[in-house]
């Protein structure tokens, strides 16, 4: 299936099934990208999973996003879905406010999302409602912040031997 046809097919199917769920869709570097409303992510993923023609039954990856200047929609999650038999790939994005970072989990559809969603909770503080075990996965459990958010520095704050003069900062 050509990329353009895939783009319009998914557009039409989502419109027919959910109405106004699609916010935008485009072909980005040869990759169909759909931005949808964050509340309906689980329903959309389940629909794409069960649809006989599209059958996106493999979750390639899932990642958190943070755009601090995108007021009201600072945080996001990106999902990459794959149809293995036909080798079709699409990307779905959702955006939501950093003040209320709660989105539905997709673990009922993809068990593989369990650890991925835990990672995004760990690094971005995104709360996946309905997740069976939402706790930190990679960082120390006593960590008090979500380190991949842009407002936090990369460096370890406890070092005393780093002189800014020597490091040109």
């Amino acid at each position: 299936m050509e990329k353009e046809i895939l783009l319009t097919t998914v557009q039409d199917k989502l419109k027919a099934q959910f109405g106004e769920v699609l916010i935008s869709s485009e072909l980005l570097y040869d990759y169909p990208v759909f931005t949808i409303k964050s509340d309906s992510i689980c329903d959309v993923v389940r629909f794409l999973y069960n649809d006989e023609e599209l059958a996106f039954q493999y979750l390639t990856t899932l990642a958190g996003l943070h755009y601090p200047n995108n007021r009201g929609h600072e945080l996001g999650v990106m999902y990459q879905l794959h149809n293995l038999p036909k080798n079709l790939r699409i990307r779905i994005k959702i955006f939501f406010s950093i003040n209320h970072p709660v989105v539905p989990t997709i673990t009922p559809v993809f068990s593989a999302a369990n650890w991925m969603e835990r990672q995004e909770f760990d690094f971005f503080g995104i709360i996946f409602s309905g997740h069976p075990n939402l706790k930190r996965i990679l960082n120390m459990e006593d960590m008090t912040y979500h380190p991949m958010r842009k407002e936090y520095p990369l460096e370890d704050g406890t070092r005393e031997d780093k002189d800014d003069k020597m490091f040109g900062r």
Binding site: L138, N139, M140, P147, Y152, P153, L154, E155, D156, G157, T158, R159, D161, K162
Partner: protein, 185 residues
């Protein structure tokens, strides 16, 4: 008949003492120190590329066995020397500390490479900025990674420490104070 050629390999010379026909008298701590220094059992705690360099140190070209340390102990309970080689993430910190606590006295620690000694290039929230924040360290080997010669030099430094320390170092007030600083006893 072939003549027996004297080996050119140096072996450890006897400590200072009084020698006579049929006896040799010296101090017990000298003998114990010599024995300990030349039969160290290292525990390799290798987490990254320094561990690869350590493998070269163990292999035939550099051969740590020449210094009596070829017997690696993969159980902390039989190990004398903890060799920390590689980046220690903060999440690995409690594991490393437990390994150290499981080792029996007397014990020494060698920190190999920039990451184990100071965090190295990983100045980031997830990496421990030097293992001396959680366990005491005797010898630091700099480098990224250090060459096997440097590791051997570090082992020789450890051997010097082992030879010259009191045989019951753990009873000294300085040692207890040092452990207390790390919240151990």
């Amino acid at each position: 008949m072939s003549t027996i050629v004297k080996s050119s390999i140096d072996i450890v010379s006897a400590p200072q003492g009084i020698e006579g026909p049929g006896f040799f008298a010296t101090r017990i701590d000298k003998v114990v120190g010599m024995a300990r220094a030349n039969s160290l059992w290292p525990l390799p705690f290798a987490t990254s590329c320094c561990g690869i360099e350590f493998m070269a140190t163990m292999a035939s070209t550099y051969d740590l066995g020449r210094f009596g340390a070829e017997r690696l102990s993969f159980s902390p309970r039989q190990a004398d020397l903890l060799m920390v080689m590689g980046t220690i993430a903060k999440k690995m910190g409690p594991v490393l500390r437990q390994v150290y606590e499981q080792m029996a006295e007397p014990k020494w620690v060698l920190s190999m490479g920039a990451c184990a000694s100071s965090g190295g290039i990983f100045d980031t929230y997830s990496v421990l900025q030097g293992i001396d924040r959680i366990i005491p360290v005797d010898v630091y080997v700099p480098g990224c990674p250090p060459r096997p010669e440097q590791v051997l030099d570090g082992i020789l430094q450890i051997q010097k420490l082992v030879e010259n320390e009191s045989i019951r170092r753990r009873d000294t007030p300085e040692y207890k104070q040092m452990l207390a600083k790390y919240g151990m006893e």
